[in-house]
């Protein structure tokens, strides 16, 4: 009986370890297949935006497309708007550590600590900056920074003017 319990415990711990592994994807198709292993905000949308408005506004967006992972941000320091667009080869998530890691194609790794993965108010920390998915905060940051209009709104505007791609 004790031996059977021991075997069960070992098997269970191996299974737990297997599930605790970091899961990585390269595109939207892979994300769809493994979405349960990712934060909720990436399960329902392939494009997520975060904002920060305290003192220095920041707008940040991750997009998992058919063939790419795009990371963008803009921030304003004093009078300077600093934009960034980069591409990642993988996006990985470890449910245990709640770390979302972007492996950029320039070989840099960027870690976002997921504090809250619930879409309406999801929150991540990137390099000491707390960024929230709350649309109120994001839209305020995006408005200050410009060029970061919500893509859904852009699509609707494009359709209205017949300019949809």
């Amino acid at each position: 009986m004790a031996l059977r319990f021991l075997c069960f415990a070992i098997t269970f711990s191996f299974i737990s370890m297997a599930f605790a592994e970091k899961v990585c994807v390269k595109n939207a198709k892979e994300l769809e297949a493994k979405k349960e292993s990712f934060p909720k905000f990436l399960q329902e949308k392939k494009e997520v935006s975060f904002g920060h408005t305290e003192i220095r506004p920041i707008a940040m967006r991750f997009q998992v497309t058919e063939d790419k992972i795009i990371a963008q941000y803009a921030l304003k320091v004093a009078f300077v708007r600093i934009p960034y667009v980069g591409y990642a080869t993988d996006i990985c998530y470890d449910k245990d550590t709640q770390e979302l890691v972007l492996a950029m194609d320039n070989k840099k790794q960027v870690t976002a600590k997921v504090i809250n993965d619930d879409p309406p108010n999801a929150t991540v920390i990137v390099r000491e900056h707390t960024l929230t998915r709350s649309s109120e905060v994001y839209n305020k940051a995006a408005k200050i920074l410009g060029g970061f209009e919500d893509s859904l709104q852009k699509t609707l505007a494009d359709k209205a003017t017949g300019g949809a791609q």
Binding site: A71, L75, A78, V80, R81, D105, K108
Partner: protein
């Protein structure tokens, strides 16, 4: 009033010391002072220069890269590509495409100018223009993140800024 005060304080806070100076009035924002700046960029990136009197917004912020000393002290295409690799990663494997690399003569000697295109449609930064050269015998690069494809005025503006550095 509070916003104006905050803005002034921030300007002073982020007036970091640039390792290079310009004849233009500039403010240097170090990656050590604003940590998110260095998060996505490679190690040679040291901060962003703000050009105070520049009217075009996408020419206001200039990313500054400082490299370790190189064996060569004269710029050529081979050295330029090595340094571009340190900025962007392996050039043949990344999404961005190096369209042109050329050498021109600036007040600091032979200097490299690269046009790096973003092939992704509707990218916020469709083109980057990067100038790589030596200032006080040290290798540096400046990168402009353009909101639209460059024209002759843009190229002249970016070169003029490089020429102002010392």
């Amino acid at each position: 009033m509070i916003q104006a005060l905050t803005s002034i304080l921030l300007s002073l806070t982020f007036a970091g010391t640039a390792p290079i100076q310009s004849k233009e009035e500039i403010k240097f924002i170090s990656k050590n002072e604003e940590t998110i700046l260095g998060a996505f960029k490679t190690d040679p990136y040291i901060g962003t220069i703000g050009r105070i009197d520049e009217k075009r917004e996408d020419l206001t912020a200039v990313d500054l890269y400082a490299f370790k000393d190189t064996k060569k002290l004269t710029m050529d295409k081979g050295l330029c590509k090595d340094l571009l690799k340190q900025i962007y990663g392996p050039l043949d494997k990344i999404t961005l495409k190096v369209k042109t690399v050329s050498i021109f003569t600036s007040p600091t000697g032979k200097t490299c100018e690269a046009q790096i295109d973003d092939p992704v449609k509707n990218s916020q930064i469709p083109e980057r223009r990067t100038i790589v050269g030596f200032i006080k015998a040290k290798p540096y690069a400046i990168e402009f993140n353009l909101a639209k494809k460059s024209d002759a005025d843009t190229i002249e503006n970016t070169r003029k800024f490089w020429n102002s550095l010392r």
